[in-house]
Symmetry: C2
Subunit: 256 residues, 2 copies
């Protein structure tokens, strides 16, 4: 393997405007690339912020339109959260993992475990909140197909969000959707330099790509798209299993 | 902020030999940089694999030298693990977080929660296992000081390891030690593009830097050092709080 194949570059794609509901993300990406002279190649990974996808897919909700159930009112009172927000979180979730200390951690309908089912109100107009895309893997596949038409090249697409984690402070960016990127690199069966089988065996490639992209966003979080180059060996022509492959089967999980 | 400041590059430092116990990592890094023509700058972050640091610090143990306690024998039988390995794990830990399904997750003496207290046997000679560095933040500060002497430049240093996580499959690289890098970027009080306070407020910079570096290591895991450029705004002259700042206080944690 050449050393040149093992270097990574990540930079935001400049020139993408604020995303409006119904926006055509592929068109905005192609226009921005043309205007800024960035050549998007089939070996690139485009890491797209969840918020941009949610807005384009019109996944904004007005809190004033939500009528909270008794359960949402009870949890809201316990956690000091707006019961209308709690109702939206419950609607997006299959179960509550933790509801303590002002924190509501749920499993979303698609199986991601995160705070508030990924719903938040930053970078959306007042009174609105953004839900996660209904099916981020499908969104990634859809965007990839549209980019193929627009660019003539087929980059991989990752849709990223910032999740907190147990035991460690701060959020890291993870992949909630992907297409055309090997989400997990299975290293089982590979031998280390002493000829033993490797123990750390499954690299979460899509999550690490999201994390690398997270480092080049500004504090204001406005950049919708980061272009990551150098992951050629993980980029695949088929869309592949998506970020769904990153979800640990519930029966194998030790943390509820 | 210039667009050029917001791009990231990560590449392994070629030319570092297999690390022997007692090796002088700073000397090996400086020699490799000189031989390969890589200019390490004060704005760079060197992400050093835990295994390399553990070997240099002689944190290898022979399983044959370990006499397991009754508790280690019991846990070993329950989890189908070598009771001598279990004894080493217990010795390195303050408490057991989970011991089920063949998995032993503990809190290390320094507060990191991970499988097997970070002990493993890949890339070490047969019959030996490697423990985590005794104090990875101290190791990072020490290496940074030595690099200052060798290079005349003071890059930031991150010591990384691959950790599993609840709910998601695969490992991601995280920072178990760091010096000269802001481990957490506190975005609280910053306003989003609509003038609201941001909700995702604390970016785990050191963990994301470790993750970016993880993407450019090969399957064999031999590369001791990855040079990350473009994180200037997080590199600090003081060593700072280290990866200890990434540990959630136990009383605030919801997952034991």
């Amino acid at each position: 393997m050449h050393a040149s194949r093992l270097s990574l570059e990540a930079a935001p794609l400049a020139g993408i405007p604020a995303i409006e509901p119904g926006a055509d993300l592929a068109a905005l990406i192609a226009d921005a690339a043309t205007r800024t002279g960035v050549k998007i190649q089939g070996s690139d990974v485009l890491v797209v912020a969840q918020k941009a996808v949610s807005k384009a897919e019109n996944r904004l909700r007005a809190l004033d339109d939500v009528v909270p159930s008794d359960r949402a009112r009870g949890l809201g009172a316990k956690l000091d959260k707006d019961p209308r927000l709690v109702q939206l979180i419950l609607d997006e979730s299959t179960d509550v993992v933790r509801a303590e200390h002002g924190v509501l951690i749920t499993r979303t309908r698609l199986g991601h475990v995160c705070a508030n089912a990924g719903i938040d109100s930053s970078n959306v107009p007042g009174g609105l909140v953004s839900l996660l895309p209904e099916n981020p893997d499908r969104s990634a596949r859809h965007l990839r197909a549209q980019l193929r038409d627009r660019l003539g090249e087929v980059p991989a697409v990752v849709i990223s969000d910032s999740f907190g984690r147990p035991w460690r402070l701060g959020q890291t960016d993870v992949a909630i959707g992907c297409a055309g990127l090997t989400p997990l690199d299975d290293r089982r069966g590979h031998l280390d330099s002493f000829g033993h089988e490797l123990q750390a065996t499954l690299l979460a490639v899509a999550d690490e790509a999201a994390a690398a992209a997270g480092l080049v966003r500004t504090k204001e979080g406005r950049e919708a798209v980061v272009v990551v180059k150098g992951l050629d060996r993980y980029v695949t022509e088929p869309d592949g299993p998506g970020a769904a492959a990153l979800l640990r089967p519930r029966e194998d999980d030790l943390f509820g």
